[in-house]
């Protein structure tokens, strides 16, 4: 199964977008546009590549138009009416509503103004539109049994969509033109995370990365404002839909804020009518616009008026939106002819201009004269402002979308070849996705996803839905959960594949299970008299049975020595370096048997299954806890800790000794010397004790290490050791508890004292003050205070206050207090 992507138009160029994709035999045509810059037969995509016989109904399952721009919808009437395609055509609601307007406008411009032959008639457009099925965003449409399509918001113009198409397991997305940032009136493109085999993306700005739009908006507004303030006329040639509304929203808002009264005109009724559509299709605009909608429809422009032809030569400033954009023909070109010679005027060119149009010439340089199509030349003295708003995404947007969708392949269309190549390399290297840049007429084939389908049994699904963790620690503890490995895929000839649980396989195959078990013999070395061998072995077996669930032990007379048979799987037996987890292997499955034992094996398996389910995890936890405890105690007696302890205490002893020697002459009142001596002695004893304990532990551990190295397989020994350890362990716990209790007690006491000192003391003092100091200062206290009196020097008659003198005065106490 494969996906073939045949590019009929917009391959390594911009214009006449048309891509035919064959997914698992279903053929879908995405867009059907015309080239605005060409006048010859190259204007339309080469449809003969789709079907030589011209039987397009069978060749193509459906056509999907992404938006109403001429380079995406322009060839549709030609294809349906002239070429005779009658199959389904899908468009979004706004596209369906607005495309006829665009087509009609274009037809009029071409036929009425430029006098060309009619490519299609008004009736053609109307007939073509009757075949169109309108779709809503995210609506999942079942075109036929296999083909499913869905539209996502693209944000390029009103009603622009990206299209997701799925046939069987293979899925692709054709983006059309899209915009990844929120516009003044449109939102950003929005798509789900899909599993795609192929992404066909536009790449108009394959290398450009654009910053914020606000400075550019401000620039545009200032340019227009400057022009109209100077009495000039501003011409904005644009298509009736999309850009005109966006700029008009901007201007209307600005006019409101700056209180400008200069009229804004729309050249044709078409734009006014288009505004009507915008009002109705408000749910396709951005969130911001939608929210405003409840109070005031943002497409109700307050300052906008209809333009009349007589106003071209009327004096005074104005702003005019004239169709068509790019100054390729029609009214906008006519107005341009009249307005271009005046240096007061302004031509603001929004968006992209196709090569060959007047707009393109104006943008590519600063020409003084421009050739019009019919040979006349026009002096261009007006200002030219390029509005660099583009509703196309930039390179970052394309990369973001590609990364977000992470398709298996990418095809780039709708761009200029050099920059497309750069983007292609970027996608291949950075995202590691194969990327293709086909030219017109070329086909790209990629593999498509297919799934193998199998019916799953309930038991398998049930076992898959509950976790089934496995532990292994070859180097470090690893937890794996491989529930699916319990499943077995069974394929019988000429039947559908089945997935069953491993326990069910024998049923499916009509066979009996056969258990292959391995019994492991391990020697147990027992000290003691040979008489109570039997007793000992009995004890051992009991102990093992207690700890290892599901195990089976029995004696065998066939061997010279008494042998203990610990049951184990073949795999488990090989996996011996996992002492923590060994019991689990025993418990998990199987059993052992020998000649003397008559216990049926199947029963043992059953027992193992019943008992062995919970116990292993418990066992693991217990053992892990025990190991952790042991390690903690060990850590307390590790070399650095002990060394630090000893060093510290030795330093204390040394200090006390030095103190004693240094203060031989002093005769303290208290018997402080005795105290220091006692303290030093205590430290000394501590050092000795710690050292001895450390030494003792070290030797025992070494001994144990040696022993355990010797008898690694003797699990019985290990258990005994464990039980022995547990008493000392308990003792240490008690000591630890007392330690902890005293530590906590001391800290709490210290805290209490601290709190008392810090908090209560000021409170108490404050309280005391409050109780004692209610009357203020006593008369006696005031008497103690020194009193000063101000006396100024008067020089001659003038009452100028010079430097004064403070006299101490006992007399005017009352005045002083009052002030």
């Amino acid at each position: 199964m494969a996906i073939d992507c045949l590019v009929l138009g917009a391959g390594q160029e911009i214009g006449k977008s048309c891509v035919v994709v064959t997914i698992n035999g279903k053929r879908i045509m995405f867009d059907c546009g015309m080239h605005m810059g060409c006048d010859d037969h190259n204007r339309y995509p080469d449809f003969s590549l789709v079907s030589k016989s011209g039987d397009f109904d069978n060749a193509i399952s459906c056509i999907i138009i992404t938006h109403f721009h001429m380079d995406h919808v322009g060839a549709l009437p030609y294809f349906t009416e002239v070429c005779g395609y009658n199959g389904p055509i899908y468009m979004s609601y706004p596209t369906k509503a607005l495309s006829p307007l665009m087509l009609e406008d274009y037809r009029r411009v071409m036929v009425d103004r430029r006098g060309e032959d009619e490519l299609f008639t008004t009736a053609h457009i109307a007939n073509c539109m009757k075949k169109v099925i309108a779709i809503d965003l995210k609506q999942t449409i079942q075109v036929d049994e296999d083909l499913q399509i869905r539209a996502y918001y693209a944000g390029h113009v009103l009603g622009a969509v990206m299209v997701y198409a799925k046939v069987g397991d293979a899925a692709i997305v054709y983006t059309g033109d899209y915009n990844m940032t929120t516009d003044r009136h449109l939102g950003a493109a929005k798509i789900d995370r899909l599993q795609l085999d192929l992404l066909i993306s536009e790449s108009t700005y394959a290398t450009t990365i654009r910053g914020s739009k606000y400075p550019r908006e401000r620039e545009f507004l200032q340019a227009v404002h400057k022009c109209v303030a100077g009495g000039g006329k501003a011409l904005i040639p644009s298509f009736a839909l999309g850009r005109a509304q966006e700029l008009c929203m901007l201007l209307d808002d600005y006019w409101e804020r700056m209180n400008i009264k200069v009229p804004i005109y729309f050249s044709s009724g078409l734009t006014i009518q288009a505004n009507m559509y915008y009002k109705m299709l408000i749910s396709w605009t951005s969130q911001n616009v939608k929210e405003k909608h409840n109070t005031h429809n943002p497409f109700d422009f307050k300052n906008v008026k209809d333009f009349d032809r007589s106003l071209i030569h009327a004096p005074g400033p104005c702003v005019l939106f004239a169709t068509p954009g790019m100054l390729c023909a029609g009214f906008s070109l006519e107005v341009f002819k009249h307005w271009a010679p005046s240096p007061l005027n302004l031509v603001a060119l929004p968006g992209y201009s196709v090569a060959g149009t007047v707009g393109h010439k104006l943008m590519s340089g600063k020409p003084t004269t421009v050739d019009l199509y019919n040979g006349t030349k026009v002096d261009v003295r007006c200002k030219i402002h390029q509005v660099a708003f583009s509703p196309h995404t930039d390179a970052k947007g394309i990369m973001d979308l590609t990364k977000f969708l992470s398709p298996k392949n990418v095809v780039l269309v709708h761009g200029e070849k050099p920059s497309m190549m750069i983007l292609k390399d970027k996608i291949t290297s950075e995202l590691d996705i194969p990327c293709f840049v086909p030219a017109n007429g070329e086909t790209v084939s990629v593999a498509s996803t297919t799934y193998i389908k199998a019916n799953a049994s309930d038991m398998f699904l049930k076992s898959c839905s509950s976790p089934n963790f496995k532990f292994s620690n070859s180097t470090q503890l690893r937890v794996t959960d491989q529930r699916t490995a319990d499943g077995v895929l069974v394929i019988e000839k000429s039947k559908k594949a089945k997935i069953v649980h491993q326990d069910e396989v024998s049923e499916v195959l009509h066979e009996k299970n056969h258990v292959v078990s391995l019994a492991y013999c391990c020697p147990v070395k027992v000290k003691g008299e040979s008489d109570n061998d039997a007793d000992l072995i009995k004890q051992l077996s009991e102990k093992i049975l207690k700890t290892v669930s599901g195990a089976q032990i029995h004696e065998s007379e066939n061997f010279v020595k008494k042998k203990l048979m610990s049951s184990s799987d073949s795999t488990a037996a090989r996996d011996q370096h996992a002492p923590l987890l060994r019991p689990r292997h025993d418990g998990s499955s199987s059993s052992s048997s020998s000649s003397s034992s008559a216990r049926p094996t199947a029963l043992a398996v059953l027992l193992g299954r019943i008992t062995g389910h919970r116990a292993p995890s418990m066992l693991v936890r217990e053992t892990a806890a025990r190991a952790l405890e042991e390690r903690r105690i060990d850590w307390g007696y590790s070399k650095p800790v002990v060394a630090a302890d000893i060093l510290w205490n030795a330093a204390l002893v040394l200090a006390s000794a030095v103190m004693l020697v240094g203060t031989v002459e002093e005769r303290p009142n208290e018997p402080i010397r005795v105290w220091i001596c006692g303290y030093g002695l205590q430290c000394l004893i501590h050092v000795v004790l710690v050292w001895s304990e450390y030494w003792r532990r070290n030797t025992t551990r070494r001994a144990r290490d040696l022993e355990s190295g010797d008898h690694e397989d003797y699990s019985v020994y290990d258990y005994e050791q464990d039980s022995d350890n547990s008493t000392t362990y308990r003792l240490s716990v008690i000591f630890l508890a007392i330690d902890v209790f005293f530590a906590i007690f001391c800290v709490v006491l210290a805290c209490l004292v601290g709190i008392a000192l810090c908090c209560c003391l000021p409170c108490i003092i404050a309280l005391l003050y409050a109780v004692a100091g209610t009357e203020g200062v006593s008369e006696a206290e005031l008497g103690v205070l020194p009193l000063y009196k101000f006396k100024a020097f008067h020089s001659n008659e003038k009452n100028i206050t010079g430097p004064g003198l403070l006299h101490m005065s006992e007399l005017i106490r009352g005045w002083c207090r009052a002030s």
Binding site: M280, T480, I499, Q502, E511, R574
Partner: protein, 696 residues
């Protein structure tokens, strides 16, 4: 799958409510409010109380009404019996018996089904995902806001009451209270008391709507990777939908009240519901309407049986426009009545609040008024009128084809926009808005909520005109009987009561089912009693009852698992020795649940190493002789010893191995045990056995 019908509802304004248990998820379908129950409260009218008690009201009572006839014997129901308190609202009773926190999904199929949802979302434990169409969400929100604003009037009148238990219920429990009231309050069995709730606030509505995930028609939303939920238009009203749920264990469709051909909303999209495993038929509308024939049983047309072979004919019979023409006639009749009364100098009060009907009526009425050159203003008085009417002109996607064609030709979907601009239709938020007084003119035509005649501006207007025999009151069906008009009696106004189509006609059900071809159909028992399903042989039909859980067996095959091709190529295949046409392989990777499908994808590669450590399964049997041969080949010598098991019948064989180290192999029908202390030998022997048996 389990279905519990919590309430079978009552007409358009009280849709049915179901609880569904599917794939372990609990799904609540609709959460309505029984607004007809507020009829027991008295409306806010200051002077009516005294007036009403003056008149003996029995003359005006509808003598034909059997319920009231009965009450005549008992005691006369008067206006004074109505509860003069701030009203409480009646929710779906059994819903309170379910723990709201255990609900996983809530599906709202029309704006009416949304009205009770804030009561549910108030619950702190509520965490379900709520799905509804965008239009339902918007219209439903406006309706709830309108309800709250209308209710505020009561609050102003009665003052704040914050007691958690309403005092009026205590008063109603007395002997002398009419049984009709008691029935409404306490229910048939007397345990409805818990379903009465105090109305939510605007904040509750806002927080409720924040939890909503709005969808479009035919948009696929995936819940938890398991269920794929799709809303398909039902034609009942703008945004109303049926649900299609696809899960790993089959598909389920839920058909609520649906209208095949609608004049405002999108038509009933039944093509999308074709071929599901289970169909829940939840259209109770046919039970309310009076059209059910006397014998109570409609057998499907004999024609239908052979028509069903050609589906195109069938669709035609479903999509015939008879019903919709009838509906249009009804609307036109209302218009002519209104024009008549306006001619005679009387006003018309229309209390219908079904949004689609209102929109059509507005358009028809303004058109007819324009053509008849009658200078009668149309007032729409509602707190949300402006927003609602503006909204309906921005949703061409949700409307019927005629309206969509209007979009293409650039006209607004509904004509009211033009009339509002021309000052033919006036919108006012409330009856006391200052602009209403200035532009007031009688006669006039007024659209005013609420249909229950207890809330909103309709109460005041009705009170004003009730004595005027020239005026006309347009009501929805079922209001005038019983309690409905009690506070306004005696009424001299003309009353026009209209019932609109609000569901599938019973006659069409067999045809619909034969088109949809579900495997199992769940129908309400009441429907099953009235219709003869005997002709539908291929479809199994189950009945469900209100408040009873119906368990539906699974009928789909085992769920299918999709395996990616790259993973499938990595599986190690084994051909069985004993059965040639079988191939088996142990699975790898991880099982995911994606888009309602089980999918096996390649997992982490670390499993590779430990993958071998899995216990192997063997089947078949080992012949001791062949094992001996196999052992000889790898250089292990053994001797065979036959032994009899304890039971005597079992033939255990024991193979003793002496070389290279000692051990023994025990072979039986059930299994083989290898006993040795030499690991190498054990593994060699194991391999030999593995070579003989099939295993995985």
């Amino acid at each position: 799958m389990k279905l519990t019908c919590l309430s079978k509802g009552d007409g358009f304004h009280y849709p049915p409510c179901h609880m569904l248990n599917l794939c372990g998820f609990r799904i609540l379908i609709d959460c309505p409010l029984d607004l007809s129950a507020i009829k027991i409260f008295s409306p806010v009218i200051s002077c009516v109380a005294s007036e009403a008690s003056k008149y003996p009201s029995d003359e005006s009572l509808d003598a034909q009404n059997p319920i009231q006839k009965k009450h005549k014997l008992e005691r006369q129901l008067t206006f004074a019996d109505l509860v003069c308190e701030e009203p409480w609202y009646k929710t779906v009773k059994p819903l309170h018996l379910w723990d709201a926190s255990f609900i996983d999904i809530v599906l709202i199929s029309n704006p009416m089904g949304l009205l009770g949802l804030p009561f549910l979302t108030q619950n702190p434990g509520f965490s379900a995902k709520i799905y509804m169409t965008e239009a339902t969400a918007k219209i439903g929100q406006l309706m709830m806001e309108d309800l709250v604003s209308m209710h505020a009037e009561f609050r102003c009148f009665h003052g704040p009451d914050n007691s958690s238990f309403p005092g009026w219920i205590k008063n109603l429990d007395r002997e002398q209270v009419p049984a009709l009231l008691k029935k409404v309050v306490f229910g048939e069995s007397g345990d409805d008391l818990g379903s009465w709730m105090r109305l939510y606030s605007l904040d509750d509505i806002e927080s409720c709507m924040k939890k909503v995930q709005a969808v479009k028609f035919a948009e696929e939303v995936c819940y938890n990777g398991t269920l794929i939920i799709k809303a398909l238009s039902s034609g009942l009203d703008i945004g109303a939908c049926n649900w299609l749920i696809n899960g790993p264990n089959g598909s389920l469709s839920y058909v609520s009240d649906s209208i095949f051909v609608s004049h405002h909303a999108r038509n009933f999209d039944f093509h999308g519901l074709k071929g599901t495993d289970v169909l829940i038929y939840s259209d109770f509308s046919s039970l309310q309407s009076a059209e059910v024939t006397e014998n109570g049983c409609i057998s499907p047309d004999p024609d239908n049986n052979y028509i069903s072979t050609t589906s195109s004919d069938n669709k035609d019979s479903l999509l015939n426009t008879e019903d919709s023409l009838e509906e249009m006639e009804k609307l036109e009749f209302i218009c002519s009545c209104a024009a008549e009364s306006a001619d005679a100098g009387g006003s018309t009060l229309i209390t219908i609040t079904r949004i689609g009907i209102v929109l059509q009526l507005l358009e028809l009425m303004s058109n007819s008024l324009e053509s008849s050159s009658l200078k009668v203003p149309i007032f729409v008085i509602s707190s949300v009128a402006e927003e609602l009417l503006a909204y309906t002109n921005t949703i061409p996607e949700w409307l019927c084809e005629q309206q969509q064609e209007k979009l293409i030709s650039g006209e607004p979907s509904f004509g009211h926009l033009k009339f509002i601009k021309d000052k033919k239709i006036h919108l006012f938020p409330a009856i006391h808005s200052p602009n209403l007084i200035t532009s007031w003119q009688e006669p006039c035509i007024i659209f005013a909520p609420h249909w229950s005649l207890r809330l909103g501006p309709s109460v005041q207007l009705l009170q004003r005109w009730r004595g005027d025999p020239k005026s006309l009151l347009v009501l929805e069906d079922g209001i005038s009987s019983g309690l409905g008009l009690l506070p306004f009696r005696p009424i001299a106004m003309k009353i026009l009561q209209c019932s609109f189509l609000s569901g599938i006609r019973l006659q069409k059900l067999p045809t619909l089912l034969s088109v949809l071809q579900p495997k199992i159909v769940l129908v309400p028992d009441a429907v099953n009693q009235r219709i003869n399903f005997a002709a539908m042989k291929t479809i199994s039909i189950l009945n469900y009852f209100e408040n009873k859980t119906l368990r539906v067996p699974r009928i789909a095959d085992n769920p299918s698992v999709e395996i990616t091709t790259d993973l499938a190529s990595k599986l190690s295949w084994r051909k069985l020795r004993q059965r040639e046409n079988f191939g088996i392989a142990r699975l790898k990777g991880g099982l995911l649940m994606e888009d309602g499908k089980h999918r096996l994808v390649s997992g982490l590669e670390q499993e590779e190493s430990s993958g071998k450590a899995r216990p192997l399964r063997h089947w078949g049997s080992v012949a001791p002789e062949s094992l001996l041969d196999a052992l000889l080949k790898i250089g292990i010598k053994g001797s065979l010893e036959q032994s009899i098991g304890e039971t005597g019948s079992d033939d255990n064989s024991i193979i003793h191995i002496a070389n290279p180290s000692s051990g023994l192999i025990e072979v039986s029908e059930m299994g083989t045990a290898i006993i040795t202390d030499d690991e190498n030998v054990a593994s060699q022997v194991f391999q030999a056995i593995d070579g003989i048996l099939d295993g995985i």
